[in-house]
C-alpha cells in the first residue's frame, strides 16, 4: 500500500499529535490567567488606598487654589469663578464641583447620584470686597473608588493578558518545535510501518536529547523488524512449497500405488478361483493371503490419503438424501466377512419407519464400517450391536448410530488417546491388531465435517460403545465445489481439468433444474435418473416441508409434486408455493393416482401426471413446462 494514500485516508488518528499541543498550550494559558488574577487582586487594596489619598490631596489643592484665587488682590469676584472651575475640571479626576457661600451656590459639571463626595471649608475672609464674608464650602464630586479601581484593574488585566498571550504563543511554538514535531513524525512513521511499509527509516537527527536517542533506536528497531519479516517470508514460502510438494506427492503416490495394487488384488483373486477350479487346493490359502494383504495395503493407502486431505482442508462433502435402512444394509454386507473372522454376530436395530437422512453417504458409510471393523477386530465370539435412532435435541433432529461390542474394552487412559492421528489405544495394540491408527481420527473428522461427532464409552474387559451423532440434515459445505475440486491433489496432476471443470459449471448453469417432491424413494430415484439422463438437474425432497425449503433455496424451473405425503399434503404445498412471490411463477406438475381432468383446473397446477409414471410422458410434460418458463 502506498504510504501517502494510507495516511490521507485515515483522518481519525491524525488528531492525536494536535491534541497534545492543545493540551500543553491551554495548560500554559490557564496558568497565566490564574497568575494574572492573583496579581490584580493583590494589587487591588493598595490601588484603592493610593487613589483615595490622591483624590484627597486633589481636594486640598483645589481648596488652596480657590483660596489663592479669591485672596489675590486683582482677583475677580466669586461670581466669575465658573471659568476657573471649568478649567480645573478638565485636568482633574473630579467630575463636578459645587461652591456654597453666603446663601449662594455655584455648580460646575453634572452631578450624578452615584458620585462620591469630598468636602473642604474655606474660612470667612474680611476686608476684601470681592471675597465672601461668610464661610465658603467646597464640594468635589468624583466616581466612586470601587468603580475607579475596577476600571484600573481591567486595564491592567488587558495589558498583562495580552503580554502573556504573546508569550504563550511563543512558548507553544517552542514546544511544537522541540517536542510535538518529533512526536508527530514518529507517529506518522509508526503508522506507516504498521501498515506494512518495512523500508521506511526516519531521517537521522543531530540531537543528543531523548528524541535523538529515540530516533536512533527506532531506526534500529525497523531494521530488525524488516530483516525478521524477510526471514519469516522466506520460511513461509518454503513451508508452502513443502506442503504443496507433499500434497502432490501423496496424490501421485496414491494413484501410482493403487495401479499395481489393482493388479495384485485382481490377479490373486482370479488365481484363487482358477486354483480351486483346477483342484490346486493347497495354493488357495496362499493366494488368499496375497489377496488379503493387498486389500489391507489398499486400505492403509486410502487412510493416509484421507487424513492428508483432511489436514490440508481439501476433503469435500457431497450431501445427498438417502435411506437409512439401505445404508445399514450395505454396511452390514460389507462387514460380514470380518464378522466371520472372529465368530462374532451382528444385531442391527433400526425402526422400519426411520426414513432418510441428508448427509454425505460415502462418509457416513465409511465411518460406520470403520467402527464396526474395530468392533470385529477387538471382539472374539461376541455380540456386536448396531442401533440407529432419531432424536430431537436443541430443536433439531439428529441420528444416533450406536455400535456396542462385548470385546476387550479400554481403560480411561487408552480412551484419551483414541482419536489422535497415528495413535491407537497403546503401542502394543498396533503390534497385535495392526492398522494405521487413523481410522477413528478420520471417522471423527468426517462426522465433525457433517456437523456431528463421535463419543465413546468403554469398560476394560467388558466392551466398548461408540456413538455417531449426525444431524438429520447436514449443512452443505460453504465452499464452491468447483474451486475446491480444482485445488484438490487428485486433480492437481491434470491442468486441463481446470478449464473443463469451469466450462462444465457454466454449462450446468444453463441446465434447467427440476425439484422432485415425493415421499416414495423409488419414485424419486427413478425420476431423478430419467431427468438427469435427459440433461436436467434434478433435486429431490422427501417431504412437503423439505420441498418448500429446497424450492426457496434452488429456485427450480419446474417442481413435480406428489399429492399424497405424510406431513403436508400436495395441495398445501401448492398453496404455500403460490403465496410466495418468489416461487409463485414456478410451474408445478402434480403426480396423482387418479386420472381426473379437474386437477388441471386447481389454482397453481400447471400439469398433472398419473402414477405409475411413464418416462416419456414425464419428460414431455417437464420439457413443456420448462419451455413455458423460458420462452
Amino acid at each position: 500500500m502506498p504510504p501517502n494514500e494510507s495516511i490521507a485516508t485515515k483522518e481519525a488518528p491524525q488528531k492525536l499529535p494536535f491534541s497534545i499541543a492543545i493540551k500543553i498550550t491551554s495548560a500554559i494559558l490557564w496558568a497565566f490567567v490564574f497568575v494574572s488574577f492573583i496579581i490584580s487582586f493583590s494589587l487591588q487594596k493598595n490601588t484603592e488606598q493610593a487613589l483615595e489619598h490622591s483624590l484627597s490631596i486633589d481636594a486640598d489643592n483645589l481648596a488652596y487654589e480657590l483660596l489663592t484665587w479669591l485672596t489675590d488682590p486683582g482677583a475677580q469676584s466669586l461670581s466669575t469663578v465658573n471659568p476657573f472651575i471649568t478649567d480645573y475640571l478638565k485636568n482633574s479626576d473630579f467630575k463636578a464641583i459645587k461652591i456654597e457661600t453666603a446663601g449662594k451656590t455655584i455648580t460646575e459639571g453634572e452631578i450624578l447620584p452615584e458620585y462620591s463626595i469630598l468636602s473642604r471649608k474655606l474660612p470667612a475672609l474680611a476686608g476684601n470686597t470681592n471675597t465672601p464674608t461668610s464661610e465658603t464650602r467646597i464640594t468635589a464630586y468624583h466616581i466612586p473608588l470601587k468603580s475607579l479601581v475596577r476600571t484600573q484593574r481591567i486595564k491592567m488585566l488587558v495589558i498583562i493578558g495580552s503580554g502573556l498571550l504573546v508569550f504563550g504563543v511563543f512558548l507553544t511554538w517552542l514546544i511544537h518545535i522541540i517536542v510535538i514535531r518529533p512526536i508527530k513524525e514518529l507517529v506518522a512513521a509508526t503508522r506507516e510501518v504498521s501498515e506494512g511499509n518495512r523500508d521506511l527509516r526516519l531521517p537521522p537527527v543531530k540531537r543528543d536529547d531523548e528524541f535523538g536517542v529515540l530516533n536512533r533506536f527506532f531506526n534500529q528497531m525497523l531494521t530488525r523488524i524488516s530483516s525478521q519479516h524477510n526471514e519469516l517470508e522466506y520460511a513461509l514460502d518454503g513451508a508452502n512449497a513443502a506442503n504443496k510438494a507433499k500434497s502432490a506427492f501423496l496424490a501421485n503416490m496414491s494413484h501410482e500405488l493403487r495401479t499395481p495394487l489393482n493388479a495384485i488384488i485382481g490377479y490373486s483373486e482370479m488365481l484363487q478361483e482358477e486354483a480351486s477350479e483346477r483342484g490346486l487346493q493347497q495354493s488357495v490359502p496362499d493366494l488368499e493371503k496375497i489377496y488379503i494383504a493387498g486389500n489391507h495395503l489398499l486400505s492403509l493407502i486410502n487412510d493416509i490419503l484421507d487424513i492428508s486431505k483432511i489436514e490440508a482442508g481439501k476433503m469435500n462433502l457431497y450431501i445427498e438424501e438417502f435411506e437409512i435402512p439401505a445404508l445399514l444394509n450395505e454396511v452390514s454386507n460389507t462387514i460380514s466377512p470380518l464378522l466371520r473372522d472372529n465368530q462374532n454376530t451382528l444385531d442391527i436395530q433400526c425402526p422400519d419407519d426411520i426414513g432418510t437422512m441428508c448427509s454425505d453417504n460415502t462418509k457416513v458409510k465409511q465411518t460406520l464400517i470403520n467402527l464396526l471393523g474395530n468392533a470385529c477386530k477387538f471382539t472374539h465370539q461376541g455380540k456386536i450391536t448396531l442401533t440407529a435412532e432419531k432424536k430431537t435435541r436443541d430443536q433439531s433432529e439428529w441420528i444416533f448410530f450406536t455400535i456396542t461390542d462385548t470385546g476387550i474394552g479400554m481403560t480411561t487412559e487408552q480412551m484419551q488417546n483414541l482419536f489422535k492421528s497415528f495413535t491407537q489405544a497403546d503401542v502394543s495394540t498396533t503390534r497385535k491388531y495392526g492398522g494405521t491408527g487413523l481410522g477413528l481420527t478420520i471417522s471423527r473428522e468426517f462426522c465433525k465435517m457433517m456437523g456431528g461427532d463421535i463419543t465413546v464409552a468403554s469398560n476394560i474387559n467388558e466392551g466398548s460403545s461408540f456413538t455417531v451423532i449426525l444431524p438429520l440434515q447436514a449443512e452443505p459445505p460453504a465452499t464452491d465445489d468447483v474451486s475446491t475440486q480444482i485445488a484438490s491433489p487428485a486433480h492437481a496432476r491434470f491442468p486441463k481439468d481446470l478449464s473443463r471443470l469451469i466450462v462444465s459449471k457454466e454449462r450446468r448453469k444453463k441446465i434447467s433444474t427440476v425439484l422432485i417432491i415425493d415421499n416414495d424413494p423409488t419414485v424419486r430415484d427413478l425420476m431423478k435418473r430419467v431427468l438427469i439422463k435427459e440433461g436436467f438437474r434434478a433435486e429431490t425432497a422427501y417431504s412437503g416441508k423439505k420441498g418448500i425449503e429446497l424450492a426457496r433455496e434452488l429456485r427450480p424451473d419446474v417442481i413435480t409434486l406428489d399429492v399424497m405425503m405424510p406431513d403436508i399434503d400436495g395441495w398445501d404445498v401448492i398453496k404455500t408455493l403460490k403465496e410466495d412471490p418468489d416461487l409463485c411463477e414456478i410451474p408445478v406438475i402434480i403426480l396423482t393416482m387418479v386420472d381426473d381432468q379437474k386437477i388441471k383446473h386447481v389454482p397453481g397446477v400447471t400439469e398433472y401426471l398419473i402414477k405409475p409414471l411413464e418416462n416419456d410422458r414425464l419428460l414431455a410434460i417437464v420439457k413443456k413446462c420448462v419451455r413455458k418458463q423460458q420462452p
Partner: protein, 127 residues
C-alpha cells in the same frame, strides 16, 4: 446366474489405460462369459462405442488423451451411443465421484480395485 443371461454373448467395452489392469479385467470378464472389447483412452472409446456398438461400457475415469468424464459426456451426447449404459470406474481418492459420475451421464459407478461380484451385479442390473 451369469450363464442364463450371457447366452447371447454380451459385449462389453472396457476403457482402461493400464495394460495390466486391462488384461486382468478382460480375462476375468471373459471368464464370466462376456465378450470384451478394449480401448486405451477416451478418444478410442468414443470411436469404438460407435463402431462396435457394445451392450455396456466400463469406463476408467483418469485416461490419457481424453479422460473418462469427457468421453462419457460425448458418448451420451451422441444419439447413436446415448442408450449404451456406462459404468464409471474411479479410484477411492475421489470421494463424491458417484454424484459427479451420475451428472456426467454415467448410469452406475464403482471403485477400483474392482470387486468382481459387485461389478457383475451392477452390469447385470443395467442390461
Amino acid at each position: 446366474m451369469p450363464g442364463e443371461i450371457n447366452i447371447t454373448m454380451i459385449k462389453i467395452l472396457l476403457v482402461e489405460d493400464n495394460e495390466m489392469n486391462r488384461e486382468m479385467l478382460t480375462r476375468r470378464l471373459e471368464k464370466q462369459n462376456f465378450e470384451v472389447v478394449t480401448a486405451d483412452d477416451g478418444q478410442q472409446a468414443i470411436e469404438l462405442a460407435e463402431t462396435v456398438s457394445p451392450d455396456l461400457i466400463l469406463m476408467d475415469m483418469s485416461l490419457p488423451i481424453m479422460d473418462g468424464w469427457e468421453a462419457t459426456r460425448q458418448i451420451k451426447a451422441n444419439p447413436e451411443t446415448a442408450k449404451i449404459p456406462v459404468i464409471a470406474l474411479t479410484a477411492h481418492a475421489m470421494t463424491g465421484d458417484r454424484k459427479k459420475a451420475l451428472e456426467a451421464g454415467c448410469d452406475e459407478y464403482d471403485t477400483k480395485p474392482v470387486d468382481l461380484d459387485r461389478l457383475t451385479k451392477k452390469i447385470n442390473s443395467l442390461l
